[in-house]
């Protein structure tokens, strides 16, 4: 494959940059401004959107890392306090005893 030389590529880049920056001849009217204002007037006023939570909105993302850290810490504490051993014991009893025996015991059959 023909490899474009660095200086040639720079020449192309400069030419493209010049074309990019040149003012385009497209005429833009004022109708879009009126449409934009009409759309904005159709929206609810910003003041009414700011409810009771508004003063705290700025803190949401700032506090997110701290909230995540607290959640992780709580999760770790919960994990340590949960009694997994007894749950395993229960599971083992059910696995070792056949289901029909357990049901007969429950139903009181001999």
């Amino acid at each position: 494959m023909v490899k474009l030389k660095r200086e040639d590529f720079k020449k192309v880049q400069r030419a493209l940059s010049s074309a990019y920056k040149a003012e385009k001849n497209s005429e833009i009217g004022n109708a879009w401004e009126e449409r934009a204002m009409a759309r904005i007037q159709g929206l609810r006023p910003l003041a009414s959107r700011r409810g009771l939570t508004a003063p705290f909105e700025g803190y949401v993302w700032r506090l997110a890392p701290a909230a995540a850290a607290v959640l992780l810490a709580l999760g770790a504490i919960l994990y340590q306090q949960m009694d997994f051993l007894s749950e395993c014991e229960m599971a083992r009893v059910f696995v070792e005893n056949r289901l029909d025996d357990s049901l007969f015991q429950v139903l009181g059959a001999s």
């Binding site: 494959m1 493209l16 940059s17 833009i28």
Partner: protein, 217 residues
């Protein structure tokens, strides 16, 4: 108007200067809008429409410029509660404009709504002319601008929406990585990686085109 220093330079009529002093500050207008005076947004629109249009016209095909300009100002209005009154409205609006343009291209690439540009003999001639010329002067003439623009459109269509934005800002407009990152809301490293990859891709694309052209001869 904030930042319009050139208007103050040189001769200026007293009335104009007084008008500038009387004009409400951006932060004051924003405060009025947030208090429910929706029509005050018209002042901001009037003040910054030229700046927004300049940014949009460079990045968006002419047929969609008006729609995107409208979208930028509607988004700006909706985001006003998050505007920091101590910052420059101009800069804040630029961020919204750039991100709206990026969204436009994401959607356009997804739906393939834009017509693909095809290259002809004159584009290849333009490329060869630029490469063989001692300077870029020959490519700067009005007669060659159209070819250059079409060529650019063709080249940018081969990039993703995100890479396209980075190439435009860093290589065509000459922004620094930090400036582009700030406008796009990405990390500087992300912008630099994308810029490097896109540049390599464009270079490969042009090399392939030159090879095809040389094989014709």
């Amino acid at each position: 108007m904030a930042g319009n220093i050139t208007a103050i330079d040189g001769d200026i009529h007293d009335e104009t200067y007084a008008g500038m002093l009387d004009a409400p500050k951006d932060s004051e207008i924003v405060r009025r809008i947030l208090q429910g005076e929706v029509n005050a947004f018209g002042l901001l629109l009037d003040r910054y429409k030229a700046h927004a249009l300049t940014m949009i016209k460079r990045r968006i095909p002419p047929k969609d410029v008006e729609d995107i300009a409208q979208e930028v100002f509607v988004r700006a209005y909706q985001s006003l509660p998050g505007f920091d009154p101590d910052s420059h409205f101009n800069k804040w609006l630029s961020i919204i404009a750039v991100r709206t343009c990026c969204d436009y291209w994401r959607k356009a690439y997804r739906t393939r709504e834009f017509p693909m540009t095809s290259l002809s003999e004159r584009h290849a001639e333009w490329l060869e002319g630029v490469i063989s010329s001692a300077s870029t002067d020959s490519a700067d003439g009005n007669a060659r601008q159209e070819e250059a623009r079409e060529f650019l459109a063709w080249a940018l269509e081969h990039l993703s929406a995100e890479d396209r934005m980075v190439v435009e800002m860093v290589y065509l407009e000459g922004m620094t990585g930090r400036e582009a990152a700030e406008l796009l809301g990405w990390s500087v490293a992300n912008v630099k990686v994308r810029a490097f990859r896109s540049r390599a891709r464009l270079r490969k694309l042009l090399s392939g085109l030159l090879e095809r052209e040389s094989s014709k001869w």
